[in-house]
Symmetry: C2
Subunit: 200 residues, 2 copies
């Protein structure tokens, strides 16, 4: 089998170009909005002609899907790279800061991951599974800290999503809602701990 090493190098090159294409797509999405992305622009940005993109991705939605997956993998990596407090109050404050920061630092990414803004795109089941793993990672850490009620988690995601959504929609790049993150986490913590206390 003399071909095996050749194939690997080709595969690596292929992957590298795919990555280049995705990077260009992100950059353009940041300036024109995710919905305004055009393959012609992406190709030009990479230095190839539009038809050549089809050697790397079978369709435009496949590019969106790869971007969606990439964003979620990024999030999973960052979650794994950190140490998380075990104490519930500290954990909630850290997670709130983390997610609001992540959600606001790239508007295009936020729209793609958390809003349904592209008419005909929905993530493949493989990509969506990554999004579910993000939730599962958080769910486990919250459960370990004593927060287990699914409804409590839904209220939590709403609170965090709301801060990021208001910040990105009304003042992208600013900190008007970003700076309320700690207070929001405190409010929520007081609330769930209060409920627990009352139940005893």
């Amino acid at each position: 089998m003399v071909e095996a090493p050749t194939r690997n190098r080709r595969a690596e090159r292929h992957e590298a170009t795919r990555a280049e294409i995705l990077q260009a797509a992100w950059e353009l999405a940041r300036t024109q909005g995710v919905g305004g992305l055009s393959l012609g622009d992406v190709a030009r940005h990479v230095g190839i002609r539009p038809p050549s993109l089809y050697w790397y991705f079978p369709s435009k939605n496949a590019i969106y899907d790869a971007m969606f997956a990439q964003a979620n993998r990024q999030l999973l990596e960052r979650i794994a790279a950190r140490e998380w407090p075990e104490d519930l109050r500290e954990l909630l404050r850290a997670v709130a800061r983390f997610f609001v920061q992540f959600g606001t630092e790239d508007v295009a990414r936020y729209q793609l991951m958390f809003q349904r803004s592209i008419p005909d795109f929905e993530p493949s089941s493989e990509s969506y599974a990554l999004a579910l793993r993000v939730l599962e990672e958080m769910r486990e850490r919250f459960a370990a800290a004593g927060l287990k009620d699914p409804a409590d988690l839904d209220l939590w995601t709403a609170l965090v999503a709301g801060l990021a959504a208001q910040q990105t929609a009304n003042q992208p790049g600013g900190d008007r809602w970003l700076r309320l993150t700690d207070e929001a986490a405190e409010m929520y913590t007081d609330h769930v701990l209060g409920k627990k206390g009352a139940r005893r």
Copy 2:
């Protein structure tokens, strides 16, 4: 002046057709998403040819702008049509229910009003002024009930927006986040009243 009445009737007819066009646009936006709206579809739906739309609206974005204004006027009317409690806790509960309900009952409207999902559209200053009036209406009622800190209001809009956003994005038509509205309002009320108490 024999022409005056004629002009009025023409103007009325004109307005009526404009309204028809907007209604068709809303219906199509609900099925295809706001971003997927096409003037050809709108025209077909109204029973005219695409170029005829331009007698009523100068551009596609003008249609979006009219929809944006219409949605905000709708919201203002509904606010004015209701009686609002004066007690802060009751007011917050009522407002939360009202806004989350309004935000979740029409996904297209929510995207157009509160998300920046259409690449080249931003509301005209006239239309945006309506959106500001909505906030102002609420701000005044909250102030009368004792809630005056702008940061407190921002936290409130984030909380309400978050519930609506999660509901529309992850389970449109369902009530998984909708049913957390009262609890969210309670949490928030306890929080702001707690701060006030501590300050005294």
